[in-house]
């Protein structure tokens, strides 16, 4: 058994872990990062296929108010471009296809009013939430005893409005509205400004793309302390005593004064703790299931839909293609069509053979964009529920009764163990920016 010593042990080399490391590195503190995977990045993963087709298989976008991640972009001189957002979008609903512009699909006028009203009411509720202590809201218990779907049913009166709202929610949460509590949804929307920001490209959370991908950005940030990152070392056990922690991996025992754990709550108990986690923390970890999202990429020589005046964006009610984005750079880049499959659909779709998945997606793309869509030069897809060290994405969700009664235990340290990860953020929870915030906070706690 190899024994190592460090002042501060960081477990997990995603955005949260690297942010904590960056902060400690800046303060000249002794630290070590251990990571289960053979790579850094966590829920970001940038791969280059066929020589020059760069795709973000995990987290992708940057929004304008995500200041922490933008600081990293400026510091590292990372190149960015804006997500293509010109031309008409496509709505496919009940077998009919129509075109529209803006974020809200062109449904009938009554449905549109209905949808607008429901969104306005949800935004109004979300604006009342204090993201640092959502459980203190005077209506916290009431909002946290029902699912978001129950609320949507109560506040929409047309099927079309409900339907479009559900697709928006699926895209924001990578989950069904029935899986999450209303209070958690309000908190999450508020932590990322509001629903409009979260579903928008321009001025929204899908505005900017990194040329070398989000994992590329992380690698640049981590480059100056790469020698302090140990890969392929899942932590199996953490023993605490009065003077610190001892983390056991298959190869080594690492002694540290403090530990920052960035693992998502749903996976935390995969580590054996001696003494065990406090009961409320342990039960919290049982109550933050990961969402499910699948990203499918069809790559073409050119973004041919742009010539036809189409943005490449689809909102559809048909399995599996519910939402699409054009994520290519300029007109001379490849045509990169990104298809999201979310929630229950994602878990079902990944169960089909890869060839069938490709065929099903392409058939829909042909339906929306014409025959040229039938022959991509490259196709791939990725489902994060299959990743052993993530087991879902984008984020750990809260079903009813969790945020009010377990929320206060999210960030509470356990002896010398401090908790980070985007799930613990009060600003941009679930996003890269939230992960960075959480890493900085945990680093400040241990210093």
């Amino acid at each position: 058994m190899n024994e190592r010593q460090t002042d501060i042990l960081i477990i997990g080399a995603g955005f949260a872990g690297i942010a904590a490391a960056k902060k400690l590195h800046g303060l000249n503190r002794d630290f070590l990062v251990v990571e289960a995977r053979e790579r850094i990045g966590g829920r970001t993963l940038t791969e280059t296929f066929e020589g020059d087709i760069t795709l973000d298989l995990g987290a992708k976008w940057l929004g304008p108010t995500q200041q922490l991640v933008w600081e990293w972009v400026y510091e590292t001189n990372a190149a960015t471009y804006e997500t293509y957002n010109t031309g008409r979008n496509i709505l496919s609903y009940k077998g009919k296809t129509s075109h529209y512009t803006g974020t809200i699909p062109k449904i009938g006028i009554l449905s549109l009013l209905d949808l607008g009203n429901a969104i306005k009411q949800l935004e109004k509720l979300a604006a009342t939430i204090d993201t640092q202590q959502p459980w203190q809201h005077p209506q916290a218990e009431r909002y946290d005893e029902m699912t978001l779907r129950t609320w949507i049913r109560q506040h929409t009166h047309t099927e079309a409005a409900r339907h479009v709202m559900e697709i928006g929610i699926q895209t924001v949460f990578a989950a069904e509205s029935s899986e999450i509590s209303l209070l958690f949804a309000l908190f999450y929307l508020r932590s990322g400004d509001n629903l409009e920001t979260l579903i928008s490209i321009t001025n929204g959370a899908q505005q900017t793309i990194l040329k070398e991908g989000t994992q590329g950005l992380l690698k640049k940030v981590a480059a100056c302390f790469a020698d302090r990152i140990v890969l392929q070392s899942p932590v199996e056990k953490i023993v605490q005593d009065t003077i610190g922690v001892k983390a056991h991996t298959a190869q080594s025992i690492i002694r540290a004064q403090k530990c920052i754990l960035t693992v998502p709550p749903a996976l935390l108990e995969r580590i054996r703790f001696e003494p065990p986690l406090p009961q409320q923390k342990a039960q919290l970890c049982q109550r933050m299931p990961m969402g499910a999202a699948m990203k499918c990429f069809a790559v073409y020589n050119t973004p041919f839909w742009r010539k036809h005046g189409l943005s490449g964006q689809v909102v559809s009610d048909e399995f599996p293609v519910k939402v699409t984005f054009d994520v290519g750079h300029g007109d001379k880049d490849y045509g990169k069509m990104l298809v999201f499959v979310e929630g229950n659909d994602a878990r079902n779709f990944i169960g089909l053979p890869p060839d069938m998945r490709k065929q099903m997606v392409l058939e829909k793309l042909v339906h929306f964009f014409g025959k040229e869509a039938a022959f991509p030069i490259f196709y791939t897809d990725k489902c994060w529920t299959e990743e052993e060290w993530t087991r879902g994405c984008y984020v750990g969700l809260m079903s009813p009764n969790t945020l009010t009664h377990f929320g206060p235990h999210l960030r509470t340290p356990f002896g010398n163990i401090h908790f980070a990860g985007t799930e613990t953020a009060d600003r941009w929870n679930g996003y890269l920016d939230g992960a960075i915030q959480s890493g900085y906070r945990a680093a400040e706690e241990v210093v």
Copy 2:
């Protein structure tokens, strides 16, 4: 590293694991049971204090239609007695105390009609559920998109009715009605006959007590294959290949053709699987949080309340004493007062110092039963959320969207790994009887 070989490896020595072992033993098959704890019993734990005060700190009761567990009682000649259920019960509501008989507290006539109507409607819905495939119900999606609390709010019109209903639900599920989906609640009620059975003593799930406790019964059943049970051996890893499984504990590697895993879903991923669990199973395990229950026992020289014509049963709206039972045997036994603290209350209450907990419970008991309650000859309490190898009780619950979309993966084998445990039962799910059913089923699967 000690290496062992067996045909069938059973992981977990609770009622499910011992039932599987019993079945295999009867068939003369080679098996081995490994258990994380230093004892068998799982969520049953019978302890004798002060020489002769025997208490079930975990699962306690037997109901009349729990045929599988009754077979064990007859086979082992285990002595039983009926739960005391004579005299007046106490309702404490909004500071007022009143007496009543039967299962339904004496609330105002309107509230009573309201309560009766809500219970009737819930029973009617539950009766339509096929417990083997609740996800096939024509209204499965609708019932599974809302919490039970949402349903209760929609179907009760008086505060008192809602309040009494919520206490009943807390007692049945060891959880808040906001934590569970309506569909799961209907399934659970149906799997144990109906709500009335589950909340009743006479002809109900609280009818019979084992003199030597439920763990005592299990020890008798396991006695003839005690040499095949290995304690204090948490399984850390299970590696599967085409010919079988290899289970790693700290001390040994056990090779087997088949494996029966009885660990509750919430704890399953504490074992590292190679290859990893299928994605839908893994996400299911993130979506079955354990309930929380605390049992407090105040033991007196005699059951003095019986002399005053009281049953010892309380239904109250005051923290922490919500529900009590007289669990002593006959008038000459000790007076054994059992206090349940459930759901959110349980997790909060266990956080207080033991002396304060005792004082708070006794104060309430004095309020209900008079000054004699102030001086028990023995007092103890137990919260199952603190148990590292259970992390809650009574059972793994399902929040909305789980039963419909993940339920089919509850019992699906994964290669040579088969799943048991009361959470996988379709009859008496959450009870000892369900655990036995699941063990028998898994044993049949592997044979």
